[in-house]
Structure formats: structure tokens, C-alpha cells
Symmetry: C2
Subunit: 296 residues, 2 copies
């Protein structure tokens, strides 16, 4: 499988930023802070920070500006996992091979840790020492994160996902669900990084948005495929959990071959969007390849 | 009991703003949007919006600037009630005489509605059409709301409250708990409004902070007293619920007379803080009187 250039470096950088941020908080309630730390630092591939950083690299944005964006997005992602795993939602006991936050702590603490991590995302965008030109765009960045994560983004997608559980939904409904639930935050990782670039045109932003949308959907299609073709050991959680949870999936709607074809089509569309850009987008195309080839 | 000047007008104004904001959201998931609406609009005294508006009036801030601050704070307050009422937290079936959100809908929807309302708060601060001078302070306002509502504010206070349930805690621990859990957002209602004022000095902001802290604590002391002296009908929820839930309260630590004395002392300190200000603070002092005299 394709290896991502400097993935480890970006993971370490993101973790270090998040640790420093958590360490800066005055300790009021040790258990809550520990649960926030657990939710943020229990592993995770840091795909969204990686996407933000390689987008920034392509567009000549400084890595220290991207640090704030990557960390804020990762806080939103982490909070959503804490809440999605709760008994009232997906009721998952394992995440990345470890007990989920409400298993390691308790439900009330997992709810509050999620709430606090959402606030921390906006804390980071409001307080990160951005360079002067990017600092002027703080409000735009916050608007982008709001749109990607709230009712009109990730939260709305999770609600659609819950509503669709056990129901037969159409391919277009499944795409809308994923575009909101996981796509919006992946797209924000690219577009918030792009927002920091000098002189980027609306058309270029649109091409990057198309790239991110196609990669985001391909990621989900692959996720559905992996869920039925991988072992629990590879996944770090029970295999076949989507099927067991009566979730609509691409393989269920299109068959396994059809779902793989769908992923391939999305991959080609993602590369096509990149081809229109006057930047070195090698890392972004390698990211798309990584998504399409990953097996766990 | 003291009646608050134009409380109804500010309630209506706040509700209208929130309804317009909710109506502006593209409908993705009707049930989630309905639960957000339920959580935001099921009544409530709108004490925080009221406090923001009367502070703004005292300092000559335009009401349309305060509208955005009041609505954002109310979204945070509403989200906290949705999550605090959950079975894993306080497990309340009634709120303001109505079924709590997870009873009217379901737990997953109440969690997501709370999450979405938190995002909506930052949405409002990032997008409200503030006047130009206040728009320049958007980031400061967001920083203030972050501090009041996240781990270092309301969420941290709720965690301390959960940790203290069934435990014997000291008076100073009880004060810290309430300063974070309810005090921080009441203080933000005053200080975010003050942030919008022209030429307000650091000393004047400090006096307003002292006022808000004392009133916030007095509010909580009164709340504890009312919980054991009022009927279910007056409260809109079961009376004695704090005692039944093994919560530490001021009457438990100080006795009923001691708690009332504590509330009176805080009231006097709040008025004293106002006395140092060169503004017409009549409505703020009436607010403090209302808090100290309220019986439900």
C-alpha cells in the first residue's frame, strides 16, 4: 500500500500541539480533563490534520498556521467520536482497539468531555497565534468550522445516519448522509487550509472542494467495504458492525464489486480536480491513492 | 415580588431572534431541528439575555448588538440543559413543567441537539450583523464565550457537580462549583455586553464582573433554598430534587437561615459593586433584587 509522505511527522506534530493545549488548561476537574485527553490522544490516524497540512504545503501556507486549523478540526472529530460511541447512539465498546471513552470513564464524563472538546475547537481557532494575514481570517475560519460541524454539517449527518438505521435508503440519500457526517469535516480540512493561502482564486478553491468531496466519499465507500472484508484485529473494533447495526452501506446498495467501482470512479474524479490546479499537488494525489488502497 | 422592567419584551425579542435563526437553517434532518427548537424555545425565563440587554442599556450599547450576544449565550444555556437532563447526568424527566428533550424525542436526538446548539452559539457570534465597532470585537466575544462555557467554565462546573454528588464538600468547593457551572455564563452575559461598550475602563468591567459573580452566586443560593421550600407546581419539576439527588447545597451546609443570610450578603455586595459605576444601573440593581426575592 502507498505510504503517506511524513504522515508520522504530522501525527506527532498534531499530538504535540494538542498535548500542549490541554496542558495549558487550569485543572478544575481532573477526571474530565483526563477523559478529554483520552478522547483526543488515544491514537487515530490524524487524517484530517494530515489533509490540512498537505493542502497547506501545496499552497505555500506556513505549517504553524495549519497547526491551529488541524488541531481545531481534530477536536471536533474527537468529540463526535465520543458522542457517537455512546450507548444511546452507536453503542460501541471499542475504538481503535481501546475501550471507548464512556467505557474507560463513564457516560456522563464522555458526554461532558465531548462538549468540552467542541468548545476547545473554537478556543483554538480564536486563540491560535496565526500569522497576521491569517489572523485576519479567523472569523471566516470559525464560520467554516461551524458550517462543517453543526446542524448543517456533521451533526445533521449523524442524525440522518441514526434515522436511516434499519431503513432502506436510496443511493442519493446515502451520499447526502455521508457528505454531511464525514465529508463536511474532511472538506473543511482542505478548505480551511486553502483559506490561509495568498491569492487563491474561487475556481481553485472550488477544485479543491471537489477533490475533498470525492475523496471524502471514497473514504466512506472504502470504510463500508473494509467493514465487511477485514478482521476485528485489523479494525480494532468488531468487523461487520455496520451490517449488524442495520446501517445502509455502499456494498449493500451496489454489491461489493459495484462499491469498489464507485470508489474507483470517485478516485478518478478527485485526481481530475487536482489536475486543474497550478500547484504541486503530489501529496494530495498520494492521499487519494492511500484512501482508495487502504485495507484497515 | 419586584417585577423586572420589560422582561417580557426582552423574552419576546430573544425568542424571535432564535426562531429566525432556526428558520434560516437548511432542513437536513427534521427531527433534529425540531429537537433543537424544542430545547431552545420551551420557555425559560431568559435571564441571561435579560442580563445582557440591561447591561447593554446601562452602557449605551445598541440592542441589535446585544441580540447576537444574548442569543449565543442562550444557545449555550439551552444545550447545557439538554445534556444535564440526560439519564447519564441528572436524569430529569421534567423541565419547566414539560417533558425534557430526551423524553419528548429520544436520548440520541437530545445529545445531538445539544451538540448542534453549542455550534449554533458560535455560528451566531461569527455571523450576527454587529455594528462595525462591535464586529471588530467578534474574536474577543468568542474567546469570552469559550472561557465561560467550556472546560474552564460551565462544563468543568458540571463535572465538579457530578463529582460532588453524594460527597461532603466544603463551602469553598461549593462556591467554585457554582462559579463555574452557572456563574460563568451569567458573568459572560454581563461582560460580553460590556465588551461592546465604547470607552469602558478595566475598573468598570471589573466592577461589573463582581456584580455578576455575586448575583450569580446569590441566584444559586436562592435556587437551593427554593428547591426545598417550594411545591412541584411552583417549580415545574419535583421539589426537593437536590436533596433527593444527594447534591451539596447551601442550606445543607449553612442551614436555611444561614443560606438566606449568605444570599443577602451577596446581594449587598452586588449593589456595592454597582454603586462604583458612573452609569444608570437601576435595571441591574432591580435584577439583583429580583434574584434575591424570587420564590420560584
Amino acid at each position: 500500500m502507498e505510504l503517506l509522505t511524513d504522515l508520522n511527522g504530522i501525527q506527532t506534530r498534531t499530538d504535540q500541539y494538542l498535548i500542549t493545549k490541554l496542558d495549558s488548561l487550569a485543572v478544575n476537574d481532573e477526571k474530565l480533563l483526563a477523559a478529554m485527553r483520552y478522547g483526543l490522544l488515544i491514537g487515530g490516524k490524524r487524517m484530517r490534520p494530515y489533509l490540512a497540512h498537505i493542502t497547506g504545503q501545496s499552497l505555500g501556507v506556513s505549517a504553524t498556521d495549519i497547526d491551529g486549523i488541524a488541531a481545531a478540526i481534530e477536536c471536533i472529530h474527537a468529540y463526535s467520536l465520543l458522542h457517537d460511541d455512546l450507548p444511546a447512539m452507536d453503542d460501541d465498546d471499542l475504538r481503535r482497539g481501546q475501550p471507548t471513552c464512556h467505557k474507560a470513564y463513564d457516560e456522563a464524563t464522555a458526554i461532558l468531555a465531548g462538549d468540552s472538546l467542541q468548545t476547545l475547537a473554537f478556543d483554538i481557532l480564536a486563540n491560535h497565534p496565526f500569522s497576521p494575514a491569517v489572523a485576519e481570517k479567523r472569523i471566516t475560519l470559525i464560520q467554516q468550522l461551524v458550517k462543517a460541524s453543526g446542524y448543517q454539517g456533521m451533526c445533521g449527518g449523524q442524525a440522518l445516519d441514526l434515522a436511516a438505521t434499519g431503513e432502506q435508503i436510496s443511493l442519493s440519500q446515502l451520499e447526502q448522509l455521508h457528505a454531511l457526517k464525514t465529508g463536511a469535516l474532511l472538506e473543511a480540512s482542505v478548505l480551511m487550509a486553502a483559506e490561509c493561502a495568498h491569492n487563491i482564486s474561487t475556481e481553485e478553491k472550488q477544485a479543491l472542494a471537489t477533490f475533498a468531496q470525492r475523496v471524502g466519499l471514497a473514504y466512506q465507500v472504502r470504510d463500508d467495504i473494509i467493514d465487511i472484508t477485514s478482521s476485528e484485529e485489523e479494525l480494532g473494533k468488531p468487523a461487520g458492525s455496520d451490517v449488524n447495526a442495520n446501517k445502509s452501506t455502499y456494498p449493500a446498495l451496489l454489491g461489493l464489486t459495484g462499491a469498489q467501482q464507485k470508489a474507483d470512479d470517485l478516485y478518478q474524479q478527485a485526481l481530475q480536480a487536482l489536475a486543474s490546479l497550478p500547484y504541486n499537488t503530489q501529496n494530495l494525489s498520494e492521499f487519494a491513492t492511500f484512501i482508495i488502497e487502504r485495507t484497515s
